[in-house]
């Protein structure tokens, strides 16, 4: 299935919902042949569980009513490159393809830190490589993350010594 901007728009909506819930604003949708199976937003704070990333929220919802074989014909749209944990989880559920917004320099598992999605050493009968394509609505995803971190810093219990961060609006071009 080719990239369809309307699904990334839905993922962005899910990211905004996460933002309003004081979570790191990352959102995603799983799409099977034109049908949205589930949306997910980050929930580590609400769940007290640092592993409750947007992808896991949606995967759990899908598996509550579908067999895992459904992922063979399912694509993921996610606003930020999946982290190393989620990148591995996506192999293990057998995702077909991943479209993401901005890269994840600190934790990215689809090329930024590791190539978990393509690494041949990770091949097992239940962990298959998958294609991944970044840069879709990258600027929007970055702006939302920046807004989040500016808000975090300004609400920190003890103000940092350096001046509160201001929102940077220029975005370096993708490398």
């Amino acid at each position: 299935m080719a990239y369809d901007p309307k699904y990334m728009a839905l993922a962005m909506e899910a990211a905004h919902v996460a933002y309003s819930s004081l979570e790191v604003p990352v959102g995603c949708v799983f799409v099977r042949n034109g049908e949205v199976l589930a949306r997910g937003g980050n929930r580590p704070n609400a769940s007290l569980n640092a592993t409750r990333h947007a992808e896991f929220e949606a995967i759990d919802e899908i598996l509550s009513s579908h067999p895992s074989s459904i992922f063979r014909e399912t694509d993921l749209y996610v606003t930020v490159e999946p982290c190393i944990m989620c990148a591995s989880a996506l192999r293990q559920i057998g995702i077909r393809k991943v479209y993401f917004g901005c890269g994840n320099d600190k934790f990215g598992g689809n090329g930024s830190v590791f190539d978990v999605n393509q690494d041949e050493r990770l091949l097992t009968p239940t962990s298959l490589p998958y294609e991944s394509e970044g840069g879709h609505r990258r600027e929007d995803a970055i702006m939302l993350l920046r807004k989040f971190y500016v808000r975090e810093n300004n609400h920190a219990p003890q103000p940092k010594k350096k001046a509160n961060r201001v929102l940077k609006t220029e975005i370096e071009s993708s490398s």
Binding site: N45, N49, T51, S68, V113, L122, T126, S127, A156, P157
Partner: protein, 344 residues
């Protein structure tokens, strides 16, 4: 008293930087009379005011010649900096008048490429050239006898569970422990088959259970506060206490739910589970058996990767020292046939 490292029933999984071969680089040296050292060092200072990549090498090696005479070999520069002829020419230009000194022709030798970070690395490279190495064991992991006993007990319990498991699930087991009081915080086993969920690995389930017990703890804490609130009409002092959880405090603490905790696992965790432990800020990991796709030593070293923001200590081969035991327990711990093992 701390137990010597050689007696630990496990071994630390070191970072690549700590376990790598230090490699070699080629440098030029020349031999001179000790009395002329200052002159030659002046030349080096003028020629290469900032030399990089040689910080771990001493500048001078002392050579005791058979007849009791002493010469000094002086490290000049990496051979990549210039050719031998050019270096000879520069030395000859400098070597006149007040600066005159006798020296041997320059010669290329090998010195370690990287600085040694521990004694093993130091011992392996010190024959090449005098190396600057100050052993600092303050940050090295240390275990006393009772800690070793606790570790052994926890791991043995998991291995036994694994050997006795008849559930049709993969025989992977995990347990989170608070090492400050040896209290078990949560346990988890693999439930991929029963849950029809390919991500319900033992470690993920165990982390979920840590979060669950923390949610319970906070709820009962809240209940207690509410009870005190209802009593507060009689006791005005208590009413001032804030019963609503501080949102910022919650946000602050969530990601660090496993801070200071240890996790024991029968198998080296897969990439997903290893990164989940990093996200949860685990303190230390102890695993029994390495996995083909493990990410704490085998395929990746997520616990010590340079660009990841949290580092933690990992100990592998726990209770596998004794090979006869490893052989006896391994068949129970198989995660598939050779080459087809699935993620732990």
């Amino acid at each position: 008293m701390n137990v010597d490292k050689s007696l630990w029933p496990f071994q630390q999984v070191l970072s690549d930087e700590e376990s790598r071969d230090l490699g070699t680089q080629s440098v030029y040296i020349t031999d001179i009379d000790p009395k002329k050292t200052t002159i030659l060092l002046k030349f080096i200072q003028r020629q290469w005011p900032q030399q990089q990549g040689l910080e771990h090498c001493k500048r001078i090696r002392k050579n005791l010649l058979p007849e009791g005479r002493i010469t000094l070999s002086v490290l000049l520069c990496p051979t990549s900096a210039m050719g031998e002829e050019e270096l000879e020419r520069l030395l000859n230009e400098f070597n006149v008048g007040d600066n005159a000194f006798d020296r041997s022709p320059v010669q290329a030798i090998s010195v370690p490429l990287y600085a040694p970070l521990n004694r093993t690395q130091f011992e392996s490279c010190k024959h090449l050239w005098p190396i600057i190495y100050r052993e600092d064991t303050r940050l090295d992991p240390k275990f006393n006898e009772s800690q070793i006993n606790d570790i052994t007990t926890h791991m043995q319990a998991l291995i036994t569970k694994s050997q006795n498991s008849l559930s049709g699930e993969l025989p992977v087991f995990a347990r989170v422990v608070d090492p400050s009081n040896n209290r078990i915080i949560a346990e988890g086993s693999d439930t991929r088959a029963a849950d029809k969920h390919p991500l319900h690995h033992a470690v993920m389930n165990c982390i979920d259970n840590v979060a669950l017990s923390e949610r319970d703890r906070r709820q009962s804490h809240k209940r207690k506060l509410n009870q005190t609130d209802s009593l507060s009409e009689e006791d005005p002092d208590v009413s001032s206490r804030d019963s609503t959880p501080n949102l910022e405090e919650t946000v602050e603490k969530v990601a660090y739910l496993c801070t200071g905790f240890d996790i024991y696992t029968t198998h080296e965790p897969c990439t997903m589970c290893s990164m989940a432990l990093l996200h949860s800020r685990i303190g230390r990991v102890f695993y029994h058996k390495p996995s083909r796709t493990g990410a704490l030593g085998t395929v990746y070293k997520i616990h010590s990767h340079k660009s990841l923001n949290h580092h933690f200590k990992v100990f592998g081969d726990v209770l596998r020292r004794d090979l006869s035991q490893a052989e006896a327990t391994d068949p129970y711990l198989q995660l598939g046939n050779d080459g087809n093992e699935v993620d732990a």
